[in-house]
């Protein structure tokens, strides 16, 4: 009776665990639900471990039991140290190596399995045998080594100090997934094979996405390979589309709009005002930062925004706007360049040095809508575009703003948000 109960419980628990992982990764892709997604991943591991427990692992000897506890104890302590210690941002340090641990573990198990008889450590109906088993174990070792290498690169290599680091971490996770999947297949653990396969391709997909935002290929990001030409002055510039901007704006509580000459050229003031109204309806505080020399003539922005019927109370002089930016979730720079150039404050050799600055970089996330990386009227490079929190959205201001607006409507229908 007990045996049949366990035989029934294991596949059920495995399926539940796999669903937790799938849902967890899905939820982690949205700002609103990312924290819940992480909890689901934890639950997925927990349920899989319960499944393992009811399957009645044979702790053959006292030695085996002790080994398990030593390993778990050491791992948990190490995990707590890395998890709670050092800096918050993924940043340089050992943090990124955590993405490799799954693969390293799988490779170690695979090597141990080579040294033992077939069907070690436990017989499973799904376990591979003979040639396929050897091939799977071999691939697991290779993938585990790749995970270790990629994780090390993410920690100390070229990506460690740039926007490309998530790509390196995602590739390490992907390699770990391959290793786990191969060991899962060889040993006949359906849940490890399934989640390993899921992780292998999900990590790759994310790495491609991060690299694409940088205008590069995944492996070039990791190994510091050549970047695509055209953008000579800039490195580490991330680009994204209106959808991603809408996903961030959707949860923003305070948004500062920073219009510039580009808005005037594109006649985007109405589109900007419409977007601001939508955000306000979703509970966000929206203000406009007006730089005295934005546009062609002093007061150019005020005239245009007044034409778009923006309440005068939302327009702020640059000094007051900088106070707002300090705790803003999003700074949306619309066709401005020199007025948001940090060189006005910190580079005495720059042509724009000494000009007032709307300090967009103070905001948690910065989106810059611009046609290209071409310099503004002063003809100088803008370091704001290279900040880790900055994302470029290339295109015509009006069209981009309208696209963000329609994405917002799709993502959070009014009925859900208001």
């Amino acid at each position: 009776m007990m045996a049949s109960l366990a035989a029934f419980a294991i596949p059920v628990l495995s399926i539940i665990s796999a669903l937790f992982f799938i849902m967890g990764l899905k939820l982690m892709g949205r700002l609103r639900s990312a924290a819940r997604g992480n909890i689901l991943l934890g639950l997925g591991v927990a349920v899989a471990l319960v499944g393992l427990a009811v399957s009645g692992v044979h702790f053959g000897s006292q030695l085996g039991t002790n080994l398990v506890w030593v390993g778990v104890g050491a791992g948990v302590v190490l995990g707590l140290l890395i998890g709670l210690g050092s800096k918050v941002e993924i940043g340089a340090g050992v943090g990124p190596l955590l993405a490799s641990t799954g693969g390293i573990a799988a490779a170690a198990v695979a090597i141990a399995a080579f040294l033992h008889d077939e069907a070690w450590p436990w017989p499973s109906t799904f376990a591979l045998q003979g040639g396929p088993r050897g091939a799977a174990l071999g691939l697991a070792v290779v993938a585990g080594a790749a995970a270790l290498m990629l994780g090390s690169f993410a920690s100390v290599g070229p990506p460690a100090h740039g926007s490309g680091q998530p790509a390196a971490v995602a590739l390490a996770a992907s390699a770990s997934g391959w290793a786990a999947a191969m060991v899962g297949l060889a040993m006949g653990s359906p849940i490890v094979a399934t989640v390993g396969g899921l992780v292998a391709t999900a990590g790759w997909t994310l790495a491609v996405m991060v690299a694409a935002a940088l205008g590069r290929k995944p492996f070039d990001v990791v190994f510091g390979g050549d970047r695509r030409g055209g953008i000579d002055d800039y490195s580490n510039v991330k680009a994204c589309g209106p959808e991603e901007a809408a996903m961030v704006l959707e949860t923003a509580r305070k948004v500062v709009m920073i219009p510039g000459y580009g808005m005037a050229v594109a006649q985007a003031q109405h589109a900007l005002a419409d977007l601001a109204k939508m955000l306000a309806l979703r509970g966000a505080t929206v203000v406009y930062a007006i730089h005295p020399s934005a546009g062609l003539i002093p007061g150019h922005m005020n005239i245009l925004l007044d034409e778009a019927k923006v309440p005068a109370g939302q327009l702020m002089e640059w000094e007051a706007a900088n106070v707002e930016l300090a705790d803003a979730d999003v700074a949306l720079v619309v066709g401005a360049n020199d007025v948001v150039n940090p060189a006005t404050q910190n580079d005495s050799h720059s042509a724009v040095y000494g000009m007032p600055l709307v300090d967009a970089g103070l905001a948690r996330t910065v989106f810059v809508i611009k046609r290209s990386l071409r310099p503004g009227a002063a003809g100088v490079k803008n370091a704001l575009f290279e900040l880790p929190q900055t994302n470029m959205i290339f295109g015509d201001s009006k069209k981009v703003l309208q696209a963000i607006g329609s994405e917002l409507k799709v993502q959070t229908p009014r009925s859900a948000a208001a």
Partner: protein
């Protein structure tokens, strides 16, 4: 034997294609946290590492499998904590709350 191989390939193929699709549009602010989260999921290899350690009978395999258990459990615990902190660092204010409630706060 062939049955095991077929089921394995079947599972792996389906899961692999699901992985391509489960990550779609992701806001750039979440790239780092999501990469860590995917890494945490890979540490599920602890499920094969635990019984392997329990069954190990020689010195070499004992060392290998204990290291495997330690790495994988560090990956689970550390990965979950790091991801949580990366999310909090990015968000800074409560995003989980009811949008309706946050709207009322915003207007008051």
């Amino acid at each position: 034997m062939t049955q095991g191989l077929l089921i394995a390939l079947y599972l792996f193929t389906l899961a692999g294609f699901l992985g391509l699709d489960v990550i779609r549009k992701v806001p750039p602010t979440l790239y780092g946290a999501l990469a860590m989260g995917i890494g945490t999921a890979a540490a599920l290899s602890i499920v094969v590492a635990l019984p392997a350690a329990a069954a190990s009978s020689s010195d070499v395999s004992a060392i290998l499998t204990v290291a495997a258990v330690a790495f994988a459990s560090a990956g689970v615990v550390g990965g979950l904590l790091r991801t949580k902190r990366a999310l909090r660092g990015r968000e800074g204010n409560p995003r989980e709350g009811n949008p309706r409630k946050s709207k009322r706060e915003g207007n008051s």
